[in-house]
Amino acid sequence: MELNIVRYILLFPLLGFLINGIAGKKMSHKAVGLVANTAVFLSFATVVYLFLTLISQPENARLITDTVYTWISSGSLTIDFKLMIDPLTSVMLLIVTGVGFLIHIYSVGYMHEDKSYARYFAYLNLFMFSMLLLVLSSNIILMFVGWEGVGLCSYLLIGFWYEKDSAANAGKKAFITNRVGDYAFLLGVFLLASSLASKGVLTLDFAMMAQQISLVPAHVLTIVGILLFIGATGKSAQLPLYVWLPDAMEGPTPVSALIHAATMVTAGVYMIARMNFLYVLAPTALEVVAIVGGLTALYAATIGLVQNDIKKVLAYSTISQLGYMFIGVGVGAFSAGIFHLMTHAFFKALLFLGAGSVIHALSGEQDIRKMGGLKNKIPVTHAVFLAAALAISGIPGLAGFFSKDSILAAAYASGHTGIWLLGFITALLTAFYIFRLVYMTFYGESRVDKHTAGHIHESPKIMTVPLIILAVLSVLGGYIGVPQLLGNLIGWHGSDIFTNYLAPVFSSATGHEMPVSTESILMIASIAMAFAGVFAAWYIYLKAKMKPAVSTVQTLPGLYNLLLNKYYVDEIYNTVIIKPLMWISEFFLWRFFDVWIVDGAVNGSAYVTKWASTRLRKIQTGDFQAYVLIFLIGVFSIVAYFVLR
């Protein structure tokens, strides 16, 4: 179905960006906030309308397209500016505009004192535009526009407080790291395009590619899949390109919630789900995705155990949870991955916004060692934060439980027991670090310094209302994807609404069945792990007042420092890649090769000429009569030559 209103989803945030970007400086804060929020709300409303239109269609005809114009056309290569909405897109759209809208509202309160208020909302609207373009585009190049666009907004927003060097550095690091991934991504696209072109179909349109993909040999698809996934590791902060995300916490907290937790970083997962037609034909590539996802999940969780900055803990938690999503899509359970993407968007956005509310209350303090006992002082924040923490830990009944469980079940069912084990251990660590955070922040004795303690206050309504909405979603959001196993208990057939809704998009993916008994045991085991994690955190950080933690650090200082310093990966990248490259560039290429070899040759030839002419010019005595004499001798010689010849 072709509907021209799809483009309005993009248009509103773009207009918001232009208005605030150009005129925002002269507008009042209220007007700026109104423009930005209206833009996103209109976009959200359009999405809802289109979503309702979409689900009113029969299941196999759920596709809305909107061809705006032909963007690039060169020879047989044609790339349209074409948007499409299928069930997968609609889910992403609802998440992006819904969570995005809540975060916009929250930002009005959070940023109200900032001088660059208009610039902030302009960037935020631009981000919404790029992210929606990423999700809506119907071909991989247009998607790449959104893909780089969100990277740009991420760069601008991380470096929002550009006067801080660390913020400016973090922004640059994010952009460049993403560029490394994008380089691989583009190569993957080129390889795919050229192998399709060699079969006579030069197309980059998702639908067209899905039809023709079987023409491409499997080994090529594997390479394409891995290259595209490298792009995803950049955007979605997976090993080995995750390094930018923890630093990205330099940005304003709502930005961390929106971009670096709920939406942009999940683009990699979305991309793989979107390219599922390719990945199901490239099992090796999928294997790589799942393994990297599993390793990242565990790796980031271990770092998260010891971080002391509230946002850094959440950042590593995000990386870890993204790893889960990649496990999901990597084992072929695309809808489980997307399901976790959705629930994660709810509870992680909530965690970040809650953290923002805490930071707001403590006048900018981010170190959890200087918090504690905030439960009664900021009760709303505490309540929603707790809800999100329970959700992420996988406590039964909350959103995170359903999505995480379906990923782990799929991993086990597909025979990837190793990856399942990684995810299983991570579940324990997740519950542990997140409740460590909860206990250190909200419970126990207050470690807040006296000056700040006097100013602690609950955030205004404009900030707490979005928190409450997100909390409701974090608690109830999982019920649209209740595993059939549990659905059967109450006789609810098709309880996994989410998977069924997405099924037409992932029709090429084959599900794995496993016995009910196995599935039940797995579920019970992961519930046990979640509770164990929460209990351990409670015991160590509340009951025993951190004594076990301190003694562990004392017995294993090496391990502790390794984790605290994030396995020294930044330092390794710096010494192995960045420093040598800069040295070679400056001293070998520039100061040696350019100046000595090339210019040496150029200037050398000039000097040789000069040297020779310095010698030769001695012949020019300046004596007129000597010249005449030489001239005459010349004339006589020539005459003599012709006469005597």
Binding site: S73, S74, Y162, A168, L187, M582, E586, D599
Partner: protein, 517 residues
């Protein structure tokens, strides 16, 4: 005679006529001179827009052809005409020149009259190069345009201007003399073969020479253009010339003059000697790729912004040449588009650097920091141009780089694998510089009182920004203009199994009736 029939000549000679008229303006009446040249170049731009209006992108032959006998003894003709490639480059020239003049409004503080008039001579020369279809005419314009540039660097340049001007001049002269020898050889070779002695480019396309002769002639042309592009390792004149040249000189040098090298490859070197071109093509592509990476790496470490932009030009022009070497439509389209893109974004960068220099009288990156605070508009524009330069999708740079990379991947995946690293490095050096100049706290007191851009400067930048976004968002009209030029280029150069080296002569049938006098 008529406006439409002679529009190309009008475009070439209008600035020269302006120079003659402008010579009578009193040199102390500075604003009169500035306004006169500005209005004339704007008029020139408007006239050149008629080319677009009347240009028919559906035909492959040369359009707006004019042919008059010039030196009949040697059958040298005043023969001009354009295709899509020339059209875009002429437009780029007429587009940039008024902006450059407006940008130099207060930058130039001595001998203004000569400066502004020389720019119009330069404009005429550049347009002549892009319009010539006769090799001698081409050569005359090619050399003629050296003189104003030499003077612009040598008179209004920085402290080492003489060194830079002489280096620029001799480097280029060296190459063009080889080209002249090759042109003359070509004249006699063609005459010996067919009995007609001619410098007519369109006729010479049909020549078929033995490989070793082609190789020598190709080498002469290729070297001449490689210096102009500049292709690694013939690039060392460029940083010096850019650093010393005044803003306007740098803009035109980077924006248009460098394109004459890539234009030369596409119009002369490759199609004239297809056999040799095909044999040597991988080596040129290799040099281009080395240039891409090398230029980017060296740019990364430069302490002077202008030098940095100069080295980044080496990198970007490497992309253009790589695109032309792919011999497939995507790569060549991208290469041509990237010529325009580079003209816009690098031209804009030089203008911006010039504005900063006018305020602070330094270009050392380390002297800046925190500029975004005091010059927000400037910082925003600089950011957009930076993003265009690093090929952010949605802006012009991406379209060119994307097409070049996908084209080179089709030609040889390794090309794209190596050239693609330039995209990463591009982001590294541009963002590093941007951060050092604009972000952080203001550490240098001298920067705290800087004034943001004034209206005149914003007017200079606005058209370029519009073009940057336009090409990025809707490149189709540009690609449409380019398309026939690139496909006939490919047709000439690409070895065709059925037809040997001398390719089909589509371009020979000119659209308009030729008038011989």
């Amino acid at each position: 005679m008529g406006f439409k029939e002679n529009i190309l000549s009008i475009i070439i000679f209008l600035p020269l006529a302006g120079v003659l008229a402008g010579a009578f303006i009193n040199k102390d009446n500075k604003s009169a001179i500035k306004w006169f040249t500005l209005i004339l170049t704007v008029l020139e731009f408007i006239v050149s827009l008629f080319l677009v209006l009347w240009f028919d992108s559906s035909i492959t032959s040369m359009q707006f052809v004019e042919k008059y006998s010039w030196i009949p003894v040697y059958n040298i003709n005043y023969h001009i005409g354009i295709d899509g490639l020339s059209l875009l480059l002429i437009l780029l020239t007429t587009f940039l020149t008024p902006l450059v003049l407006l940008g130099s409004w207060t930058y130039i503080k001595q001998r203004e009259k000569e400066y502004f008039l020389w720019f119009m001579v330069l404009e005429a020369g550049m347009i002549g190069v892009f319009a010539s279809l006769d090799l001698i005419l081409f050569y005359v314009f090619w050399e003629a345009m050296l003189i104003p540039m030499y003077l612009i660097i040598g008179i209004w340049g920085g402290p080492r201007r003489i060194y830079a001007a002489v280096k620029f001049f001799i480097y280029t002269m060296f190459g063009s003399l080889l080209m002249l020898v090759a042109i003359i050889y070509l004249y006699f070779a063609y005459g010996a073969q067919t009995g007609t002695y001619t410098f007519d480019l369109l006729k010479l396309y049909g020549i078929s020479l033995p490989l070793h002769v082609q190789a020598w002639l190709f080498a002469a042309f290729a070297l001449s253009f490689a210096i102009k592009v500049p292709l690694f390792p013939f690039h060392t004149w460029l940083p010096d010339a850019h650093v010393e040249a005044p803003t306007g000189g740098s803009v035109i040098l980077a924006g248009v003059l460098l394109k004459m090298g890539t234009y030369g490859y596409m119009r002369l070197a490759m199609p004239l000697f297809p056999v040799a071109a095909n044999a040597l093509l991988p080596y040129i592509a290799l040099l281009a790729i080395i240039g891409i990476i090398y230029g980017a790496l060296v740019a990364m470490m430069q302490p002077d912004i202008k030098k940095l932009v100069a080295y980044s030009s080496v990198s970007h022009l490497g992309f253009v040449i790589l695109g032309l070497m792919t011999l497939n439509i995507q790569g060549v389209d991208g290469g041509v588009l990237q010529m325009i893109n580079h003209g816009l974004s690098t031209g804009a960068l030089f203008l911006l650097v010039g504005m900063l220099y006018e305020r602070r009288h330094t270009r050392e990156i380390s002297q800046f920091g925190g500029i975004a605070k005091v010059m927000p508009v400037f910082a925003t524009i600089f950011m957009i141009v930076t993003l265009s330069s690093i090929g952010l999708p949605g802006l012009n740079g991406f379209i060119g780089e994307f097409l070049i990379l996908i084209g080179s991947f089709f030609a040889n995946p390794l090309y794209a694998v190596f050239a693609g690293t330039g995209v990463i490095l591009g982001a590294v050096y541009m963002l590093r510089t941007y951060q050092k100049v604009f972000f952080g706290k203001i550490t240098n007191e001298a920067n705290s009182g800087l004034k943001d851009l004034n209206i005149r400067e914003i007017i200079v930048m606005a058209p370029i920004l519009i073009m940057i976004v336009w090409i990025g968002v809707y490149p189709k009209p540009f690609l449409k203009i380019i398309h026939n030029a690139s496909s006939s280029y490919i047709q000439y150069v690409k070895p065709q199994p059925s037809q040997p080296a001398s390719a089909g002569n589509i371009l020979q049938q000119s659209q308009m009736p030729e008038r011989e006098k």
